[in-house]
Amino acid sequence: MAQNTERWGSRLGLILAMAGNAVGLGNFLRFPIQAVQNGGGAFIIPYIVSFVLLGLPLLLVEWSTGRYGGSFGYNSPPYIMRSLNKRKLWMYIGGLGLFSNVIIAAYYCYIESWTMSYVYHSIIGTFRGMTEGQVSAFFDNYLDVGVSTTGIPYEALLFYLLCLALNIWILSRGLQKGIEKVAKICMPLLLVFGIFLVVKAFTLKAGTDGAVYDGTVGFNFLWTPQFDSLRNPKVWLAAAGQIFFTLSLGMGCIQCYASYLRKNDDIALNAMTTGFTNELCEIIIGSSIIIPISIGYFGIDKVIELTGMGGFGLGFRSLPFLFGQWGSVIGAVAGTAFFGLLFFAGITSTVAMGSPVVAFLNDGFGWKRKKSTLMFGLIIFLLGLPTVLFFQKGVFDQYDYWGGTVALFVFAMFEAILFSWVIGVDKGWKMIHQGADIKVPKVFKYILKYVTPVMLIVIFLAALVKPKNDDWSLISIKGWPVDNTSIIGELKHQGIGPNDKWIANEFYAENTGVVDSIYSQHGRNYICISSAKGNKCYTFSNDDKLQVKVGQEVKTGDVLYQGRVVNNVFYIDISRIFLLLLFMFICLVVWKGSKNIQRKETKL
């Protein structure tokens, strides 16, 4: 049995830490985009259904299994799973909880560092007077590590290290003095910043501060129901996916935090409260900032186009420019509030991601918190470095897809099966109600037994073989073409385009369009192609031989330049191999830790 005796200092601290874990960048950047792309006000119907059938039951599962594992002295997902069932399979499934946390923390910490940097730039007024294009280019240059737009060398790397150091420091201070204290500071500040921005969005008036439309136009657009979309399985899958990510399910963080509870502490009311606190931040604040403000300036059509780039496109490329329209002081305050809000949401989530790893090193190897926190920092730094250096090569996306999406679903699916079908929902129901301050409605017992596990299996299968362009009418007994973003499509490199060799002597046009510009900036050469899918720029070296001129029309597969080319598919494949090896290594370490635990148990 492990020797960790850490406990939460107060119930409010626990709730805020759990809510901080759940409330992340996705609440403010992902949810509004999903709502816009999936039927506006009608999206909320499948979203709420998913919250009830998937979100709340899984919260109860993770809280109760976490506290159960904690009663045996285990705080990390592999050994919490082992305490629930002695079969080794479950322990290795718990290893997914470590895998996804180190992978997500590695790239999440990088995004968090962008928000930190944008707070800094908002305060010093970097964006003041910039055009929309300049703000967008600032973001691209920021991500290009070798390029410095502000005189700070390796700026992205510097902020990343700063952010990582802050995370390590918080984690090393422990549960009460670190995580709980940070949650008590960050969560109220996040709400204050959020309320300020929501008020600004509601009071945005056409004709003032350069706004073209009232803020209410955006709210109208976001909340006007398109009931037709309810018949589309894509909308239901998107809603279930959003609920899953927003509540931080399938990561083992909730289990880890709950394992520090005493055996008769309430979990039913706590789980419900954190779930609803997250929804408050998502549905009220998350939906009321980026879409209404962006529509107020750009109009609906352009915002739909911009949402195609995801929440990051709107958040980092457009909002600093829009805040600049509110004047230098209010603009700086709004920029600080928005990126500060994202930073607080991010940091309370990354410290939660670190907790299962730190707990694992204590459970399996008896490491003290400071030592295990430093090890976590080192792992995150080594894993995060490729995402910083090769962000534009697709490494970040691979981490996000396999570690931040697929692994979560697989972990949660097995966790629900273990709870409802292996342990048995009757025993599970007793675990939920031990020391409970509220009685969970009995209907949840049946939801836990039948609906949640089946729903997770269906979602996983749907993600595996999603039909092309999300067109579910293509499903046929004879087979169907799968979408590029389905798991099978991803594995087959579907949609990778003509540059499908690791190393080649020519670089081909990825879309049909026109050569928009060819230029050099900050010591790099760029060739930009304007197509129906937008404007995309590629870098090339001085030794490469250009095969096109400005204004020339190019088709997909035409040669843009000749030279020694290392294509993105090389970085993608290496990332995948690396992730697979990492998971195998984690399983090995989990096995070694379990041997140490067995030895201790035999001695006792």
Partner: protein, 40 residues
């Protein structure tokens, strides 16, 4: 704002807000579990 959008927005947002406040109040009012206190 159009009526249906306003109705949906207010219904959803107010329900979530009321539910969150209700749960927080219940949580803050709940007494510490006696058995845990005895454990200490």
């Amino acid at each position: 704002m159009n009526t249906s959008a306003l109705a949906i927005m207010l219904t959803v947002q107010l329900s979530v807000m009321v539910m969150t406040i209700y749960l927080f109040v219940r949580m803050l009012k709940a007494k510490p579990n006696k058995e845990n206190t005895e454990d200490e």
